[in-house]
Symmetry: C2
Subunit: 203 residues, 2 copies
């Protein structure tokens, strides 16, 4: 039985509880419930960060100085599982989150475990909507007006597996990939996407 560490900020996240239930066969220790989360990270075999508010999560990781220990652990080979906010913080910054900025982290820089931005809960534009606010696609295109990092919009039901140097799209619903100066591309489950977004080592 592997020991996994779960890192979670205060939240009523649906994703967190759903994933936690699936991980119940592992000995789970919660970083937010220990006195010394750095040591908890050190002794874990795998890391899981669930959902919640991405700004609060990143601020908690910064305030507790956990970004570097997590990066080190993952670089050393420990598997990292992120869902929702936990996938937002896996990218270089949290600049493609859809969460409200309810607290102010000192920087938007996050774990940078992958060289691309993840925008989870990707929702395709509704052509019949009369709502004036921008769609997720329009927001991501705004991001690319200011930033060069590719973005993967992951639909509900899809996920990314990074293993042995490959970046694979898994699940059922596919993803939409956005790159500066290029038309967005729809990718289907099973696709290897490192050619589009960069590999796990940033190449």
């Amino acid at each position: 039985m592997a020991g996994a560490i779960s890192i979670k900020c205060k939240s009523r996240s649906k994703c967190f509880w759903a994933t936690r239930e699936r991980l119940s066969c592992y000995a789970l220790e919660s970083a937010h419930a220990t006195d010394n989360p750095k040591k908890a990270i050190d002794r874990a075999d795998a890391l899981f960060i669930g959902g919640g508010n991405t700004f609060r999560l990143l601020k908690a990781l910064q305030d507790r100085e956990l970004l570097e220990p997590i990066r080190r652990k993952v670089k050393g080979g420990a598997p990292y599982i992120g869902s929702s906010a936990g996938s937002n913080v896996a990218g270089p910054t949290i600049k493609t989150t859809k969460d409200m900025p309810i607290v102010q982290p000192r920087s938007f820089d996050s774990l940078g475990l992958v060289p691309f931005q993840i925008s989870p809960h990707y929702l395709d534009p509704d052509p019949n909507s009369t709502h004036m606010r921008e769609t997720q696609e329009e927001r991501i295109l705004q991001f690319l007006e200011e930033n060069e990092t590719p973005v993967v919009g992951i639909r509900e039901g899809a996920w990314i597996l990074i293993e042995n140097g490959a970046v694979m799209l898994k699940g059922e619903t596919g993803a939409r990939i956005f790159r500066r100066g290029q038309a967005p591309v729809d990718v289907k489950t099973g696709a290897e996407i490192s050619g589009l977004v960069g590999g796990p080592n940033g190449n």
Copy 2:
């Protein structure tokens, strides 16, 4: 004819163009298109900030040092009109925007022309949705876990008029008011809401 000043960040905002058309009877000067936006603000009779990305707008206002000149102008009696991002920055902070944090402003503090947060494009929860991400109501309740400032969620088609010390809800669709530790309240058009959210002078 009054001279109005329009302040806009780079954007393809729908709200901006719609409002600009309605203001076409005024001599409009665009702050973002002048060499000296502070002077343009000084000589204007009224201010209008349209939509776009709220983080980029606030960063532009900070970088060009326009927050204090605008506050001063409005304190001196000049009317302020804000739509979408322009209403987000009218509150004490941008912590209730739904925009993506595509750039990092040095602080989330904004104009503070009113003592309450505005969350425009308020969308009521869809009970049939199977989407995992949080609703706007859930996000605002997260904000209230971390902050004490009341929040007005303004539905499309509603707006707030502050005049002669009164805070009036206008338009057709109403608003939902959120306060820490209290159940959300739906308010209808015509309601005077300063008792719920505070008056224009923060009392």
